[in-house]
Amino acid sequence: MTLDTNLKHIETGAALEELINSKENVMVCCGRMGPMCVPVYGAMEELENSGDYANVQFADMLFDIPEASIIRDLPECASFRGLPFTVYYKNGKVAKATTSIQSKDQVTSILSEIV
């Protein structure tokens, strides 16, 4: 099962592992198709299409699939109580994680800091 976005979908923990180990910068938004999540997917699609972050792989993951525990159970997300959980990976490690809605400006600011 995947989210209904135009982003790359991650369906398994193995796929996520492979992605974060093969790409230097990865941003994964793990959520549902709700009002807090959709704006983040929209911002990601826009950043991806702009070409300004060609060195970042943007992806999403449905929060409700069992394999999403790879994100749900991250220590960086332990205090999170709102979807989506957005995780930024750098060289295979978590560089930053945010909870709930984020604006394009907030996402851009984090990407600029990390990338």
Binding site: T5, A43, R81, L83, S100, I101
Partner: protein, 310 residues
């Protein structure tokens, strides 16, 4: 400064429909949105009653509308914060974070957005206890005590829905009665997990890393109640995104933009379409209809006699 025939503010179904019609009529069109493309329709899980299309998600429908608008020649810029505008003269000027734009006509189709309480502590705990979506975040509060703020249908129905997860749900409402349908009120009142704090409002959300409590003030006697809760769901309605335009066009008592049947506002060359304008029914199809009418009326306006020469 970039010039266009028409600048459309808002990239929901109304704005995109107007853009499709205008660009297909060979007008240069810029569509600006302060958020993402699609408006509130992107939050609709399944759209089953859009004529001619099989059931699809609102997100996909909006993506297709955007694609169609761009294919016809519209320029679409999302997440563009509107900094200032001047619609007084014949030429309309708009400044956003990314630049300055000029148009011969403007269509305001900015829709609406969920109302927030506006407390400083509300922002701090967003995603850390405060939520605006029961379906999204309800299960984070399993067996916990939470509050729901609001007294309309959304608040009542979501409160009942949240009892599937939460130990108790306290509804906090500023009036002594609810504004919801009778059946929604009855369902909430008959639910043993739901308590009520009427004529009350939240003064502060408290906690360190995440929400652990709310301070509630009784509006009548100013008494304070502190509730130990880990979650707060806020459903206090939608507000039309007309505030920025209140000094430019006439608004209704409910802050909706007033238009005639051609979507013309009180300001020459400024039109409004979709949920931001005063109307009875708010559907994707009615927004599309508004956008279409606005586009055709704009064409008439642009092709009409020059008022300076009459």
């Amino acid at each position: 400064m970039k010039s266009y025939d028409v600048i459309i503010l808002g990239a929901g179904p109304a704005g995109l429909s107007a853009g499709i019609y205008l660009s297909r009529a060979k007008q240069s069109v810029l569509i600006l949105d302060q958020g993402i493309v699609g408006g509130q329709v992107v939050l609709t899980h399944a759209v089953a009653n859009y004529p001619g299309l099989p059931e699809l998600s609102g997100y996909k429908l909006a993506s297709e509308m955007k694609k169609q608008a761009i294919e016809f020649g519209c320029e679409v810029l999302a997440n563009e914060k509107l900094l200032s505008f001047n619609f007084e003269g014949k030429e309309k000027f708009i400044t956003t974070k990314s630049g300055e734009y000029q148009g011969r006509a403007v269509i305001i189709a900015v829709g609406g957005q969920p109302r927030k309480l506006g407390l400083e502590s509300e922002m701090k705990f967003q995603g850390l206890g405060i939520s605006y979506c029961a379906t999204c975040d309800g299960d984070f509060f399993t067996d916990e005590d939470i509050v729901v703020v609001g007294g309309g249908n959304s608040a009542l129905e979501e409160a009942v829905s949240l009892t599937k997860f939460a130990k108790t749900v306290t509804i906090i409402h500023q009036f002594d009665h609810f504004q919801g349908y009778i059946h929604a009120i009855k369902a909430a009142e008959e639910n043993p997990k739901i308590k009520f704090l009427m004529e009350s409002e939240i003064e502060e959300f408290t906690g360190k890393e995440s929400l652990t409590g709310v301070t509630v003030r009784n509006i009548k006697d100013s008494s304070i109640t502190n509730l130990d809760v880990t979650g707060a769901f806020i459903f206090i309605g939608y507000v039309p995104g007309s505030d920025a335009f209140k000094d430019c066009v006439s608004l209704s008592d409910r802050k909706e933009i007033l238009t005639d049947e051609d979507m013309s506002t009180s300001r020459d060359g400024v039109f409004a379409a979709g949920d931001v304008r005063q109307k009875k029914f708010r559907q994707i199809t009615t927004a599309v209809s508004d956008g279409t009418i606005a586009a055709l009326a704009v064409m008439d306006y642009l092709n009409g006699p020059d008022p300076d020469k009459i």
